[in-house]
């Protein structure tokens, strides 16, 4: 026994020595040259760089987003897009034709120039291979009328499509690919600030693309993406200085920053205008009554829910239109420009219910006009990466109880909950909606009448089963109206009126996005005072952040 212990001690000792040797042979003794990134808890990496495939970025630790670039970059802070590979674009033919003018100074990392042919070829690929058309563009065809121009044609007015999300691929390499749907693209050639240097299942090393079109950028020559399995091990590595920038979810950033307040910084933000909403099922009595939904909304205090229910991680929604008042100020209907949610108003909620024929029972809970107790069940996922719904619901249940509405919370495993919300087998639930810069998309998910289905049939939109003959034409008008046109204004005013007066869904809070970083090797991360991009290493904005980082000079 004692022998065995001695032997273990000896083995450990040898390993320690070996480890100490490796630590000293570290090739990156010069700090600031390399930045280490952990995109998400994605597990071991798998070599795949097909930017047209959905979800492929996850397998390569989101390093794809520093190699391939979108046509326009999304500015989440302002809720708009800004010119990127495309310098400008214009719509023609009533929204059925899109002409994109590309920058003239962009080259692929193999030296060939980016041309209109490349863009047209990429959209043609999406048309020929529906497995790649993940945005569901109604494509009619694409051509390149000029060397830096691409024209994309659609079968219906497509003003509100998020066409810029498609990243062009080089035609001279991809035309040889037989089946682009199952093409792994192990040696990516892109236009981004970095190119692939080496790949292992644990570390992806990218080096500066010397021909990058933003001259002089990036300042950081090497980026390493490191594989992590969990948020907790990312945080331990951040604390130990083994990684510089992490995309951890469901953590209390302030507590992490306290571990090393000199070096660790963070920004907890609304990374995109995705709204967590309470979804009432309109096929369940009495949630089909607008007064009940209005009363439920009135009874909530969103500031308290945000503070206590989410620990301040999720910001409260302020405008009853569901739009973010900061980034969407220009899209708010004039009638609702200054309308804001107040604090909880249980008395007002009770008045609404009484007016609708509800009577207060002896137990402080309303009775419906049909005589049943106003008791509902809210179905929630046990865990969700977009916010701690269960914790928030504890605060909400109390606020509803004060207004005489009984809500019981029932939790389910995530995929079971997803199935139930899609099939419409619930009374109340909470789900995020939006998350794209397109406000049309946000409202389409709430109001879509095309995908209004009976409970028991699966849908990906209009989970609440809201039926309104006005909604369909308004959405149609919106889809066929150019940005900032009178048609868009009319559609937005109509849809916001439905949101405020009919309360088809109850907007609650924004989804949270948290970036955590260390500033002892590099600085220049986006922050509240300098919100040039979202601080998430797994977002399309990550290439912007990486180009803005500056090495810290060693003393």
């Amino acid at each position: 026994m004692i022998n065995a212990v001695q032997r273990i001690a000896a083995v450990v000792g040898v390993l320690l020595l070996l480890g100490a040797c490796t630590a000293k042979t570290n090739p990156d003794a010069n700090p600031g040259v390399t930045v280490k990134v952990a995109g998400a808890a994605s597990g071991p990496f798998v070599r795949g760089y097909n930017p047209l495939l959905l979800g492929a970025a996850n397998g390569a630790g989101y390093s794809t987003q520093s190699i391939y670039e979108p046509l326009l970059q999304e500015d989440f802070a302002k809720g708009v897009t800004r010119p990127w590979l495309a310098e400008s674009f214009r719509w023609g033919d009533g929204g059925k034709s899109l002409t994109v003018e590309l920058r003239k100074d962009v080259t692929w990392s193999d030296g060939q120039p980016l041309t209109g042919e490349d863009v047209a070829f990429t959209f043609e690929l999406l048309r020929k291979f529906p497995g790649l058309n993940t945005n569901g563009y109604p494509l009619a065809g694409a051509e390149a009328p000029g060397p830096n121009t691409a024209q994309i044609r659609f079968t219906e007015p497509s003003y509100q499509l998020m066409w810029w999300r498609t990243t062009p691929v080089p035609k001279h390499l991809w035309k040889e690919v037989k089946d682009p749907v199952t093409y792994a693209n192990k040696n990516p050639v892109g236009t981004g600030p970095y190119r692939l240097k080496s790949f292992t299942s644990q570390v992806i090393t990218l080096e500066k693309n010397p021909g990058y079109w933003q001259k002089g950028l990036p300042a950081v020559k090497t980026v390493r993406y490191i594989a992590f399995d969990s948020s907790s091990s990312m945080i331990a590595a951040l604390q130990a200085g083994e990684v510089d920038w992490i995309g951890a979810t469901g953590v209390d950033a302030a507590a992490v920053a306290k571990l090393d307040p000199k070096s660790i910084g963070y920004w907890n933000t609304k990374p995109n205008p995705a709204v967590v909403m309470v979804i009432p099922n309109h096929s369940v009595y009495p949630l089909n009554l607008p007064e009940v939904r209005q009363a439920m909304s009135l009874a909530l205090d969103r500031t308290v829910i945000s503070k206590i229910g989410t620990g301040g991680q999720n910001a409260p929604v302020e405008s009853p239109t569901g739009l973010d008042v900061e980034s969407r100020a220009d899209l708010l209907a004039p009638a609702y420009a200054d309308l804001r949610y107040g604090s909880a108003d249980p008395a007002g909620a009770k008045r609404l219910l009484t007016g609708a024929g509800f009577t207060m029972g002896p137990d402080g809970v309303f009775r419906t006009p049909k005589g049943a107790k106003l008791s509902l069940t809210m179905l929630l996922p046990t865990n969700n990466p977009f916010g701690d719904f269960v914790r928030a619901s504890k605060v909400m249940v109390k606020q509803w109880a004060a207004a005489g509405i009984e809500v019981k919370v029932k939790t389910e495993q995530q995929s079971a909950w997803r199935e139930d919300t899609e099939l419409g087998t619930f009374d109340l639930t909470m789900r995020p909606n939006g998350g794209t810069p397109a406000v049309y998309d946000f409202f389409n998910r709430i109001f879509s009448q095309e995908l209004l289905v009976e409970p028991g049939k699966r849908t990906q939109r209009n989970y609440e089963r809201y039926k309104n003959p006005e909604a369909g034409p308004l959405l149609k008008l919106y889809a066929s109206s150019a940005a900032r046109s009178a048609g868009e204004r009319e559609a937005l005013a109509g849809l916001q009126k439905l949101m405020v007066e009919d309360v088809p869904v109850i907007p609650l809070m924004f989804t949270a996005g948290l970036g955590l970083w260390r500033t002892d090797r590099v600085t220049g991360f986006p922050s509240e005072s300098n919100p040039y991009a979202v601080p998430l290493p797994n977002s399309v904005n990550s290439e912007i952040v990486l180009t803005k980082l500056r090495p810290v000079r060693s003393p």
Partner: protein, 325 residues
């Protein structure tokens, strides 16, 4: 030879049942692979993506479970495990080939070491029953009760974050490229120390306690008394009379544990972000990645079956009674 033939038939039936279960179990979960991808991108994707994903994954929503089952067997016989949905379009075999060696090396070595050390310690502790050595029993029972991942968290906090003696996570230093060189191999060993420690501490105690208890039971048998009375050397009595008879349950335990090498390391790998198969399995379950799940479960089942077959062979060699049956 009857014994071995009967075992072989048993294993064939067990293999069929296991392979079929591997097929059915993932499909009993609510939702599906396409819904799981949609979930990963909550709110970011248009619902048109559902259609695109069905086409890309080659899933036919109208295909019957039976035709999928037949296809599944055909692919198995041709050695085609399909394309992973989580890491689309990478083949399942590639995903497994990258992750499995890490787990096999770390856990294979750890399992072997803890079994040998634990069994040996159990023999010694059992032989010296009733002396001061028995003091390790409550300690062992305590260590056995600590879950591996919790032990891992404590070890990370103490040895990696606070004392900074060992790296926090990963399989090797992110500054090195994998090759057969002293710095790289050293880095791999250095990174393996803490995860190995987290698992060895608890399991060692388990093996020791079971071996010790069997040892105590065996040593009270009459033939051990006879051996001692004959004046045989103490070591011969301890090993050939006591340990050889007491070791049988521990051999079976070892075989069972080998099966868990693939699946049981999940939490430890998660705590240390170790690049092994455990976390890939977790991802596969989370994303309802049927091909990947089937691939990993197939390997797990075969490890268990092969390990218990080897245990049977070991029984055959160790226990003369099985040869006569």
């Amino acid at each position: 030879m009857h014994f071995l033939l009967r075992r072989a038939i048993f294993y064939l039936i067990a293999a069929w049942a296991a392979i079929t279960t591997n097929f059915i179990l993932p499909r009993l979960m609510p939702g599906g692979p396409v819904e799981a991808v949609m979930a990963r991108h909550e709110g970011q994707l248009s619902d048109q993506a559902v259609n695109a994903l069905h086409i890309a994954f080659g899933l036919d929503p109208n295909a019957s479970m039976w035709s999928e089952y037949v296809e599944y067997w055909r692919n198995l016989f041709t050695g085609n495990l399909g394309l992973s949905f989580t890491y689309f379009p990478t083949p399942v075999s590639t995903v497994i080939a990258h992750a499995l060696p890490w787990t096999l090396v770390l856990l294979g070595v750890v399992t072997l070491v803890e079994w040998i050390l634990g069994t040996f310690a159990g023999i010694v502790v059992g032989w010296r029953r009733g002396t001061w050595v028995d003091a390790v029993l409550p300690l062992g029972a305590f260590l056995r009760g600590i879950p591996h991942f919790w032990m891992g968290l404590v070890i990370v906090t103490v040895f990696a974050v606070t004392l900074d003696w060992f790296p926090v996570s990963g399989g090797y230093s992110s500054d090195l490229l994998p090759n057969v060189s002293v710095p790289f191999v050293g880095s791999v060993l250095y990174h393996a120390v803490l995860p190995a420690l987290a698992m060895v501490v608890g399991s060692l105690a388990t093996h020791m306690l079971s071996m010790r208890n069997m040892m105590v039971t065996t040593l009270s048998e009459d033939y051990v008394l006879v051996a001692e009375a004959k004046g045989l050397h103490r070591r011969r009595v301890m090993l050939s009379y006591g340990a050889r008879n007491a070791i049988l349950p521990n051999v079976a335990g070892f075989a069972l544990q080998l099966g868990f090498v693939v699946s049981g390391a999940l939490l430890v790998e998660k705590v240390f972000s170790y690049p092994g198969i455990g976390y890939v399995l977790f991802q596969a379950v989370h994303n309802q990645d049927y091909p990947l799940l089937q691939g990993i479960l197939l390997i797990t089942t075969f490890t268990v079956l092969i390990a218990s077959f080897l245990a049977d062979l070991a029984f055959f060699a160790l226990d003369p009674r099985t040869r006569e049956a």
